[in-house]
């Protein structure tokens, strides 16, 4: 603190300056935009527990609740599938469901979603077949769906690399005169990558209709946020690029939905990009392959369990008489039906054709690939004869 104060005073009065002397600024300098409106609020935006809930659409509230419950069940089912060896790996979003759900529900059909490898749930809430969404993680193909058909880019494993794609797509849509918005999702760790910075800069310079959603879940594998950034918040990073930063309680589904919907609307009407930081927590380990006890304690996890997104919304809706036991049961049953169907379909061995290895490398197969395909064909034939 001390050194900070010292530093700010040196800026105002250079050491050795003549008393009373005021250096003139460079002739052409003035701020390009007023930074104040771009700055995030000091506290994460919240709706639950405030009177603002009364103004929310009751249909939306019930939809959010049902999707959260279904999303939680989806996470549990996918995690179980890793234990049965049906999925190679699953990065769970248990505890982060509000962000996933709100992300998908804030978009119109014509909009695009650019998910990271963790965001299968957002894709499913957007309407993607859960089995197709899990193809990458099951290991039968890299992307199990046609991105154009669903307007969901492939789940990106290299971190932050999907962000410039979102900017480019949104920019292209605008050039074509389409009112399409791209929503790009990234983790707190991913904000350290060069691609994150370049994407934000392009988006702001081009005033592209993009919304960046950072799910700050506390860790990048084992590395806590404090070792990732020294910024006051990740939302503050927006200001340096010239776009507004918003801070939201990522476990308050209503708040996340509201902030995202506003940012999407703003982008759609030509208002440019927004960076949103949702404060949330990764309840499970990084993936099933990770040992979280090496880098965090139980008490921290427990504190976040008390701030669970489903718990928060359920309590609020119950108190307001908008959700009763029947409503809860209906949501749970719908989730169970989804899980049972997913389990059953994932238990079926995927049918794979090894010749697919060569099918989609180029629009037209090269001579070399034709030769290699013939080699594999012969091997497979010999294998099936033996």
């Amino acid at each position: 603190m001390d050194s900070l104060q010292q530093r700010s005073s040196t800026v105002q009065e250079p050491p050795g300056a003549t008393p009373g002397y005021r250096p003139t600024p460079p002739p052409a300098w003035k701020p390009r935009t007023d930074p104040a409106p771009l700055l995030p609020d000091a506290e994460p935006f919240r709706v639950l527990g405030t009177d603002a809930v009364a103004a929310a659409d009751p249909e939306l509230l019930r939809r959010l609740y049902a999707e959260l419950v279904r999303g939680r069940r989806y996470n549990a089912q996918a995690t179980a599938l890793t234990k049965q060896g049906r999925l190679a790996v699953y990065p769970s979003t248990t505890g982060q469901e509000a962000c996933e759900v709100a992300a998908a529900l804030a978009l119109e059909d014509r909009d695009w979603l650019f998910p990271s490898y963790r965001d299968t749930l957002a894709a499913v809430v957007r309407g993607l077949d859960p089995v197709q969404a899990l193809t990458l993680l099951r290991g039968d193909w890299h992307t199990g769906y046609d991105p154009r058909e669903h307007r969901i880019a492939p789940l990106s494993t290299p971190l932050a690399t999907q962000l410039p794609h979102a900017v480019g797509l949104a920019h292209a849509a605008r050039l074509k005169g389409d009112d399409v918005v791209a929503l790009a999702m990234v983790g707190d760790g991913g904000t350290s990558e060069g691609d994150f910075h370049e994407a934000l800069n392009f988006a702001a310079v081009w005033q592209a209709p993009v919304v960046f959603l950072v799910q700050n879940n506390g860790f990048a594998i084992s590395v806590p946020l404090a070792k990732q950034t020294a910024a006051p918040s990740l939302a503050h990073k927006a200001v340096g690029y010239g776009m507004p930063g918003r801070l939201v309680d990522g476990n308050d589904a209503v708040a996340v939905h509201q902030v995202l919907t506003e940012a999407v609307a703003r982008a759609r009407r030509g208002g440019g990009p927004t960076l949103i930081e949702a404060i949330t927590y990764r309840i499970e380990a990084h993936t099933n392959a990770d040992d979280a006890t090496r880098y965090r304690g139980d008490s921290e996890v427990e504190a976040w369990r008390a701030h669970d997104p489903i718990l928060l919304l359920e309590r609020e809706l119950t108190e307001r008489g908008m959700l009763d036991e029947d409503g809860k049961r209906a949501a749970a049953e719908a989730a169970e039906t989804m899980a049972a169907a997913l389990r059953e379909r994932m238990n079926a061995e995927p049918v794979l054709d090894p010749m697919d290895l060569f099918a989609h490398v180029y629009a037209e197969q090269t001579t070399q690939l034709r030769e290699q395909a013939a080699q594999l064909r012969a091997e497979l034939d010999a294998e099936s004869e033996a």
């Binding site: 494993t157 290299p158 990048a220 084992s222 990770d290 995927p350 060569f358």
Partner: protein
């Protein structure tokens, strides 16, 4: 390169893994030389996703074994600055395909700093990259990127295939005054040997291949994850009357022409085996060198067994892509070269 030995025995010997040998190499280097710094994503508290840096942060402190922000270009770029100021960074790239954001630093600066500064500013650093497939990893977790590194002058490219070499070569890499891309075959991380972390272990000079199996009828030239495959193929070929020699290159740059050529001159036949793609892959360079040096001794063209020329496939299909024993044996059979065949 002087030969060094590991610290004296402390505990009784027990089988060790390649991951442990690598950890031990860093530990010994850090203990001996205070300028050695380990850095990367998750290398500290977690000990790396493969636990290769396990315990280093605890033993040497977070300034010597540092969890960096998640930014590969930043990691390698800051390592350049650290090396400029006299440190010896040992950088971990978490997985092969996640090293790509750092290629700008690697190619534009790390590899050519010595050259650009007429020798005034060497870049003694190690870039550790877990590489290759066969572990069921999802997309972007199984690339064999050695050809990119080999094509960049100024870098050494090294890859161990045994627990002992993992120790010996990493010690040599850290001691090297030039940047070394140290490729760690992930599927051998848990391979065991009788190597004891406490026993004295030879530091292997970078650039020397080793004959893993003596033979007379053909030479298999290979490295890293394909070494065990070739040894198995050599055993299997014996039944068919082939007595195969297996060479583990250990270092792709510099390349040990001497050991390889001497072997091929004796056997008259050679197959290069690796899992990275064949087209534009390391095998092409190796086959050309062998042909140039051994033309009059060759009884057949130098053949290559490689991964297909495709982006690394999803895990459920990787077994069709990775060159296994059968493909090596098929190639050996084709060495019965006759004119016109």
């Amino acid at each position: 390169m002087t030969t060094q030995v590991a610290a004296k025995p402390a505990k009784p010997a027990k089988p060790a893994t390649m991951a442990q040998a690598l950890q031990r190499a860093m530990r010994d280097a850090m203990a001996e030389d205070p300028t050695v710094h380990v850095m990367g994503e998750d290398v500290g508290t977690l000990g790396g996703v493969f636990r290769v840096t396990d315990g280093l942060a605890k033993e040497f402190g977070e300034d010597r074994c540092t969890d960096t922000p998640l930014a590969e270009a930043g990691i390698l770029g800051t390592a350049v600055g650290m090396a400029m100021y006299g440190l010896r960074p040992v950088v971990e790239m978490q997985f092969d395909a996640f090293a790509y954001p750092a290629f700008e630093q690697l190619i534009s600066h790390v590899s050519r700093m010595r050259n650009r500064t007429r020798g005034a500013m060497p870049m003694p650093m190690v870039i550790r990259v877990p590489y290759g497939g066969g572990i069921g990893g999802v997309e972007h977790h199984s690339d064999s990127s050695e050809a990119y590194y080999m094509a960049t002058p100024g870098l050494h490219v090294v890859t161990p295939a045994t627990v002992e070499d993992a120790y010996g070569l990493l010690r040599a890499a850290i001691a090297s005054d030039d940047p070394v891309v140290f490729l760690e075959p992930k599927r051998l991380y848990w391979s065991k040997s009788d190597w004891s972390p406490e026993a004295p272990t030879q530091v292997e000079p970078i650039g020397k291949a080793v004959v893993r199996r003596r033979g007379t009828s053909a030479t298999l030239i290979t490295y890293g994850p394909s070494v065990p495959v070739c040894l198995e193929a050599a055993e299997a070929a014996q039944a068919e009357g082939w007595d195969l020699e297996v060479i583990d290159l250990r270092s792709l740059v510099p390349f040990d022409d001497e050991t390889v050529s001497a072997s091929v001159r004796r056997t008259g036949r050679a197959v290069v085996v690796h899992e990275s793609t064949g087209f534009g892959g390391p095998g092409g360079e190796i086959a050309a060198r062998v042909t140039e040096r051994c033309f009059h001794h060759l009884e057949a063209p130098v053949l290559r067994v490689a991964g297909f020329d495709i982006p690394y496939p999803p895990p459920m299909l990787e077994r069709h892509h990775l060159p296994g024993v059968d493909r090596v044996l098929d190639a050996v059979a084709r060495l019965q070269w006759e004119v016109g065949s």
